[in-house]
């Protein structure tokens, strides 16, 4: 036979009745005290249970998670280090700042020069085409058909020259992109502080004359044929001057294991040109 549950008002009525007498109040205090003991014991049992669960995880399957975490952190560290080295390698070997003499900056200058070179070449072609048009006008009274043909082909040459405008615009876009990348790389260097990082060396050019290979000179740095001729004629027999040192801008050959080569005399050079 089940005991019917008390309503809230019935519970309060009985509790107030007990609280109205000293024995009743002593009963209530003892009841509360026992309830607290039961609650504390319950919390303690739950704590032990949680601790055991955590211990099992750490000693068992949890250990592998920590190992993976450590490995991931290690790989992240290595990746960051590689990135620092890659950024450092963007600097020139002499440590010049990226904003000045960097590879990216040099690349943009080369592209700018391509634009200027094609513009000059296109101008020469246009001059020739315009000359042909004038010739066509001149011969028109005596050879109308020939004049028309000349004029037609010269016009085709003219319109074909519009490639310079289009390639110029494309290259300008690439230059702008490179400049943007340069700014971002500079910002990354500032953030990551790669000043002390060791740069990744470029694969060495194995060719024996690699130190002399600089490509076309930039405007203002080039030598005229007359200057080259003068340099060649200035290397006389018995001169101490070495050819690489006379060619401004060319670096002397790096030291090698083999004995140093003898100075090149003018007569040696003359024999090469004879």
């Amino acid at each position: 036979m089940s005991t019917p549950a008390l309503t809230e008002s019935a519970f309060i009525e009985i509790e107030e009745a007990l609280a109205s007498t000293p024995r009743g109040r002593a009963f209530l205090r003892m009841r509360d005290q026992r309830q607290r003991v039961v609650a504390i014991e319950e919390v303690r049992r739950l704590s032990v249970s949680i601790r055991d669960w955590v211990t099992r995880k750490v000693d068992g399957g949890g250990a592998s998670h920590i190992t993976i975490l450590r490995r991931e952190l290690h790989e992240m560290g290595a990746y960051i280090q590689r990135t620092r080295e890659e950024l450092a390698s963007l600097r020139m070997k002499d440590g010049a700042p990226l904003s000045g003499n960097s590879r990216i900056n040099l690349a943009t200058e080369e592209l700018d020069e391509i634009v200027r070179s094609t513009e000059r070449a296109t101008s020469d072609i246009l001059n020739a085409a315009e000359h042909v048009l004038k010739l066509a006008d001149a011969v028109q009274p005596v050879a109308a058909e020939t004049a028309a043909g000349l004029s037609e082909h010269a016009t085709e040459i003219l319109t074909a020259c519009s490639f310079q405008d289009l390639t110029g615009q494309r290259i300008t876009k690439v230059v702008n992109t490179l400049r943007y990348l340069e700014q971002r790389v500079n910002a990354m260097i500032d953030i990551w502080g790669v000043e002390s990082a060791k740069g990744v060396e470029q694969p060495a050019d194995e060719r024996p004359d690699a130190h002399l290979l600089n490509g076309p000179a930039r405007p203002g740095h080039e030598k005229s044929q007359a200057e080259i001729d003068a340099i060649l004629s200035g290397v006389s027999a018995g001169s101490d001057a070495k050819l690489p040192e006379l060619l401004n801008g060319a670096e002397p050959a790096p030291p090698s294991e083999s004995p140093p080569a003898a100075s090149v005399s003018q007569s040696d050079i003359d024999r090469l040109f004879s």
Partner: protein
């Protein structure tokens, strides 16, 4: 009739000048930017047509077109855009700004003649 050719590339100005001369237009002037062209249009002689590039600094061809259309004295000047910008949105923007025709680079003499005739009528 005088024609004003506007392009920041000297090469393209020379090409257009030569093609226009082939078509019989001997009175051709050049400007290397939208701002230079606008100054010339407002202060110089009257032009029967403007042939302009789009991508220029500091003032683009589209800005020049809008300035021309907003100017009470210049608003009726025929204006042809000759540009490498060939996206639909470019053509739409130019059309909305009041361009008379639109030529995409690279182009040939026949195209230039055809587009000019669509604006000016038959060219001898």
């Amino acid at each position: 009739m005088s024609i004003l050719v506007v392009d920041d590339y000297n090469t393209m100005r020379r090409i257009l000048r030569n093609l226009l001369e082939q078509l019989g237009f001997r009175n051709v002037d050049e400007a290397d930017s939208g701002s230079t062209a606008l100054e010339r249009l407002r202060t110089g002689k009257s032009y029967g047509m403007v042939i302009s590039d789009w991508n220029m600094e500091p003032m683009t061809g589209l800005q020049l077109l809008k300035e021309v259309r907003a100017d009470t004295k210049l608003k009726d000047t025929p204006f042809i855009m000759v540009t490498a910008e060939s996206k639909t949105e470019n053509v739409v923007a130019a059309k909305q700004a009041g361009v008379n025709n639109y030529i995409v680079k690279p182009f040939n003499a026949a195209t230039l003649k055809q587009k000019m005739e669509s604006v000016l009528g038959p060219i001898a």
